[in-house]
Symmetry: C2
Subunit: 304 residues, 2 copies
């Protein structure tokens, strides 16, 4: 038996250990970062909001004019087979569409490339360790870079153009911060590597509406917040206004709601996880197992 | 004997067919486009300006804080072995530094990744077919995208963030144009996929000085132009001024100087390759074999 406990990949119907999954160095997915992807969480043996993630993935595929020859049912089937084979009950599951190689010698025409789909999964990733998230994490606002504008690379089409994030991450890590968030060229708060950003003002919760990924976890947060009686506003969030927030938190499919205690040298909610973020964090993990948003994976049922 | 005539790759000292060269799907080089690279041409059995290309590559590697454990001599040795083994006398030779995989489970810290170097070569690529270049090619100015700004992803650090270019290429190809060029957010002419852009005004030649790759071929053009008595200006080039040019041409290590006959629905130099561009194009191929800029590759000497 092949050991898939560190992760598995799906390539053209074959399931292999993730460490063996590779793409050609001449694939435009590598040489042009010409890839659309998405990541769906698996929690306690079931996908969360699988339809929403796959729909967003296929919207990215269409926006990039990639042709993978698979519909939503085909993608879901591949992901389900792969995760079931891995045995991972809590997993980070990536679905990827790449431009592929160009079989026409010297062609620079993206329409000539042979597009392809693949998927891979690894044990569930918390983008901030749970203990650090519970206590309220730290965020550094990148100073050397601004978020790539939406009219250069559309952030609603989930993509691997992370050069701006990586620059911000180096700044953050060098200064001892957990992660980074980026401003746009107009000075508004946007997003960070793998997450959306929220600011709480009394009974209002504000998150950027433009120039950011429309995260599924972000959508879940907005629904949880509305259900809890908060007014939610998706609109530009200027940095000056952001500094006045009562609380700040992040959202990611890698860990749910992540309270923030410190941004640069300023503390929020007395330097700890705020009460609103903490409540939403608990609610998120409750919602992860809500039957109506779950797709159970045969063979990964809880041990009894 | 392994057939390397379609191209070869260098991985950790091993030379393999380029079609077999692949990088892991979880390499940050893929998942974050976290790669610095460069491309040096081989022409008639020798590298052109090898020192300049390798120096620029190592500057990109340093700017991205990648550690590949190889100095200029090591990189040149790897490239030379690889190209010699391929037998390709005219080649497109890529040297690549990738962030690599992160061995710390769940870590989002780029400093934890295991960076690595690899290289690959294929038969020489003309980004515009020589016949089309000789006649003057066609360029479409992208309307749906602007060039990624330098303070988001630095274009002088040669990188694979091509989402903006790819969007422009689709626009161009759909309309029957050979390639695309992008404007910046201030409306200046920048660059296109794999090339710099020049405008000729009488005895002056202007090319963008900011927000573009400082191409080695661009540098060669500026030197050829100065030697030919032209005044050269590297500065912002507003589109309004660009439209007034007598001639337009492109520069790329994939084909040298490429005359442009048409941009959008406007023709330049009477809809043909202009005389200045044509002259520089010829000079470039002469300079490609200038001994002082060549590094001959043992075993690839011309047949006599």
């Amino acid at each position: 038996m092949t050991d898939l406990s560190h992760g598995a990949a799906w390539f053209g119907g074959r399931i292999i250990p993730v460490a063996e999954a590779a793409i050609p160095v001449t694939d435009w997915g590598v040489t042009h970062a010409d890839i659309g992807y998405d990541v769906v969480p698996v929690w306690r043996g079931g996908f969360f909001r699988l339809d929403d993630y796959v729909d967003r993935f296929l919207a990215s595929v269409a926006a990039l004019r990639l042709e993978i020859g698979m519909d939503a049912a085909g993608v879901k089937s591949a992901l389900t087979q792969m995760v079931a084979a891995s045995g991972l009950r809590d997993a980070y599951v990536a679905m990827v569409a790449a431009r592929g190689r160009n079989p026409v010698p010297g062609s620079r025409d993206p329409r000539d490339c042979v597009n392809h789909f693949y998927a891979w999964c690894v044990p569930y990733v918390h983008i901030v360790k749970p203990d650090a998230a519970d206590a309220g994490t730290s965020v550094w606002i990148a100073k050397s870079v601004r978020r790539i504008p939406a009219d250069s690379v559309d952030p609603t089409v989930k993509n691997y153009h992370w050069g701006d994030f990586t620059g911000g991450l180096f700044e953050a890590k060098d200064r001892g911060y957990e992660t980074t968030m980026l401003l746009d060229h107009q000075g508004n708060v946007t997003e960070g590597p793998g997450f959306n950003v929220f600011a709480v003002f009394g009974d209002r919760i504000v998150t950027s509406g433009h120039g950011v990924l429309h995260g599924i976890t972000r959508a879940t947060v907005l629904e949880m917040a509305a259900e809890a009686g908060f007014a939610v506003e998706t609109r530009p969030l200027p940095l000056d206004e952001f500094w006045q927030a009562d609380e700040v938190f992040l959202s990611s499919s890698g860990g749910g709601v992540i309270p923030v205690a410190r941004v640069d040298d300023r503390t929020f909610s007395n330097g700890a996880a705020g009460p609103v973020a903490t409540r939403l964090r608990r609610t998120y993990f409750d919602w992860l197992v809500r039957p109506e948003w779950r797709t159970e994976i045969a063979g990964l049922e809880a041990a009894t």
